[in-house]
Amino acid sequence: MNKKLVILSVFAALCFTNLMVSCSDDENIEVGEADQNTVDAVDNIDEDAVLGEAFTRGEMLTNWADHIIIPAFEALADDMDSLSLAANTFTEIPNQENLINLKQSWLNAYLAWQTVAMFDIGMAEEITLRNYMNVYPLDAEGMTTTLLAGGYDLTSVNRQDEQGFPALDYLLHGLANSEAEIITFYTDEFNGPKYKIFLTDLVERMRSLTYMVLIDWKERYREEFIERDGSGATESVNSMVNAYIYYFEKFLRSGKVGIPAGIFSNSPLTDRVEARYRGNVSKELLTTALHATQNFFNGLHFDGGASGMSLQGWIDHLEETRDTNDLDSLINNQFALIHAQVVNLNDDLGVQVTIDYRGMLETYDLMQENIIFMKVDMLQLFDIKVDYVDADGD
């Protein structure tokens, strides 16, 4: 009798787990909401003993989406509109004044790009926005061949290093040494139209990709992003934090600083500097990206007015009950040290690399220290797995 009962309980329990696990995985929003009610009810019973009412993932996600990510993409979209306008004006009348305007629009948009580059999530991740907007070094030779041949397919993976901001950089600054000479490329009787068309095509593609992501955020993804407020590996918080740290490590630390400084290659690589044809803005691009990552960490709204829940607040919340202290200040102090170091660099990081690559190396090392704070200490505190690996543990 007893034994039958036991067997019955095994199978009942097995079914129960399956149910639980499938609910906890995803989809079942109703259960999630019901659970939320339970939590609220508990809060009312004994407020003091309950941890975690000051922080909810949903609140953080809402702050990120509404006050940081969507406004940043809106700003980029605005700059893309201006860039498009300036490009059209220039291709209609290719003169110096219009070239200068176009260059300024390009720089504005490039700076705006630095504030969204880390948000490789949702539609941006799906269409690999980053790979079509800012792959450098540019394959200038390949791009020129493509441009002259016409009939190109910019959506091709093989064309990723022939478009985006680096391609515009080359088309606006790198074709020749003076503005007058550059303009002749567009006024050339035979090839001029091809340059004009290519320039317009590039800008329109960047603009349409930006809008694709922005519209998706507004009309669809925002809701999903905020709704997926669980702690699982595929939920929004984990994905966003991983994307954020990955960006900081691979694109900020390595891409903008480490690789040009020759840290991975034994010798400096000046051609790997961002905006290398323009030259004197690479530091500004780096600084903008650094500020954007720090602001995201602190939950500062894109308009700079106020701030909401973010990684800094979450650390604060968790540290109330832990032994570790002030990880958020450690990270912010480290950001300050990085900024203080970057200020000393030449406006053109290509020049900096040539005259004294150690300045870049020191910047890299300071950034690496922040990687350790974020990737090792912060992720452990959050219990977020780096590059979540789908494998069993024990």
Binding site: K3, L5, V6, S9, V10, A13, F16, T17, M20, V21, C23, S24, N28, V31, G32, A34, D35, T38, V39, V42, A49, V50, L51, G52, R57, D229, G230, S231, S254, G258, I263, F264, S265, N266, T321, R322, D323, T324, L327, Q368, I371, I372, F373, K375, V376, D377, L379, Q380, L381, F382, D383, K385, V386, D387, V389, D390, A391, D392, G393, D394
Partner: protein, 449 residues
């Protein structure tokens, strides 16, 4: 001596061992299908550029596309074990293929994989294919209704050792006094339905920590004692299903739950077998034909006894080897594996390798992503033997190029159980000068509380 002899001559029904064989074989068969279906063969054993070997087993490597064949053989042999088809060959094949798979890359080391290897090794020496097995039902293999009692006790002993060592490993200040690493893991589960809210209470985390340790230490005794067995088994089911919900631990909970059935008396198992007879429409007369042949002692079975005695001595000794090493076990991980230390650590690290060309003084950093999968990089950054092996791989890789005289250094930081990260490896130590051995690795920096 007499009592020892009389113990070893005691016999018992072979039904529990048959059920154990079937359950183990089926679970392993499902495990292999699951592993394959999740795409893990490709991800773990085909895609990576290098594989981390266990010391002394460097010759065991994945076999390229033939790795699939290996998994196929392993899965098929598990099914043969379950069916009792060519049992001896099947279990030997399963043990060898499964263990080979586990030795291919220590990145995927799990205590529960080790448990599977250990159980299947033990099963090689037990007459698990001699009752309610394909071959014995068809008469091509002898059937034993009775087998020596120690055959079943051996499995019980192994399971008890696993629980007891797991429980003893939890008796440390991190687990009991800090509730670490549960304090890191459980609060993130607060969005789970029904039970999630519990993890918002600090005392609940402590309850889980103490409850887990107590469970591991008590459950063997509850299962061994006839009167508390049902309670023990309910605890087994409850505990393992709870861990299945809370942590990504794959098939392990089910393995433990079904293994624990071995503690029940033979009538229970016989009922299952009778039931299976009916469901599978195996004609009853065949079972009745089984002769009550007692398991015979022979020189071979004497040899088996010696092997198993050595096996259990190793099982009991291995978890204590950590005492031979200086320093904090969690920090150095010297003597950590093969000891049923489960869920004891949350460890994260970051390792940046610097390659110095001694001829020119030039140096550069390594982009780990170029050589390691993210899983490998994660495991590498917190374990000294991985770091050393990786450094030697890098040496072999880069010294093929112009540079011949290389030194390799690592900037490695590790955070353990919620402490702030600190430097892990002596940054001045040239890793190309280090060689793996069972000796203490002096270049691991001491652990600071």
């Amino acid at each position: 001596m007499l009592s020892v002899n009389s113990y070893f001559s005691k016999t018992t029904s072979s039904a529990p061992l048959a059920i154990f064989r079937i359950a183990f074989g089926l679970l392993m068969f499902i495990s292999m299908i699951r592993f394959w279906a999740l795409g893990w063969i490709d991800k773990f054993y085909i895609q990576p550029h290098l594989f981390f070997s266990y010391y002394g087993f460097e010759w065991i490597k994945p076999l390229g596309d033939l790795t699939y064949v290996l998994f196929f053989i392993c899965g098929l042999s598990a099914l043969f074990v379950a069916l009792g088809l060519k049992y001896t060959w099947a279990i030997i094949t399963f043990f060898l293929s499964f263990t080979y798979i586990e030795l291919m890359d220590k990145t995927t080391y799990l205590n529960h994989y080790y448990l599977v290897s250990v159980i299947s090794f033990l099963l090689i020496f037990l007459p698990a294919g001699n009752y309610f097995a394909w071959d014995s039902l068809r008469g091509s293999r002898k059937s034993f209704l009775q087998i020596p009692k120690w055959n079943i006790d051996a499995i019980k002993l192994l399971l008890c050792l696993v629980y007891l060592f797991a429980g003893m490993a939890k008796l440390n200040s991190e687990w009991l006094l800090q509730a670490m690493p549960l304090k890191i893991w459980l609060p993130t589960k607060e969005d789970l339905p029904l039970i999630g809210f519990l993890f918002r209470y600090d005392w609940m985390i402590y309850l889980f920590a103490w409850g887990g340790a107590l469970y591991d230490l008590l459950v063997p005794f509850l299962l061994l004692n006839r009167r508390t067995r049902s309670l023990g088994f309910i605890m087994v089911v409850f505990f393992h299903l709870l861990t299945a919900i809370l942590f990504p631990i794959g098939m392990f909970p089910y393995l433990m739950i079904f293994s624990a059935l071995i503690f029940f008396n033979y009538q229970f198992h016989q009922k299952i077998i009778d039931g299976l007879h009916q469901i599978l429409r195996i004609k009853n007369h065949k079972t009745h034909q089984i002769q009550n042949v007692p398991f015979q002692h022979s020189p071979i079975s004497k040899f088996k006894t010696v092997v198993l005695a050595a096996f259990f001595l190793i099982q009991i000794g291995l978890p204590f080897r950590y005492m031979l090493y200086p320093g904090n076990l969690f920090w150095t991980e010297e003597g950590y594996r093969w000891s049923w230390r489960v869920m004891l650590m949350e460890k994260a690290g970051n390792a940046q390798f610097k390659i110095v060309d001694n001829a020119s003084g030039n140096w550069f950093y390594v982009n780990n992503e170029d050589f390691l999968s993210s899983f490998q990089e994660k495991q590498m950054a917190t374990q000294p033997d991985f770091i050393l092996q990786y450094a030697h791989f890098l040496y072999a890789h880069f010294s093929q190029q112009e540079m011949k005289d290389l030194s390799i250094f690592v900037d490695c930081f590790v955070a353990l159980n919620g402490r702030k990260s600190t430097r892990y490896i002596d940054p001045e130590f040239d890793l190309t000068e280090g060689y793996d051995s069972f000796a203490h690795k002096s270049w691991i920096l001491p652990f600071n509380e």
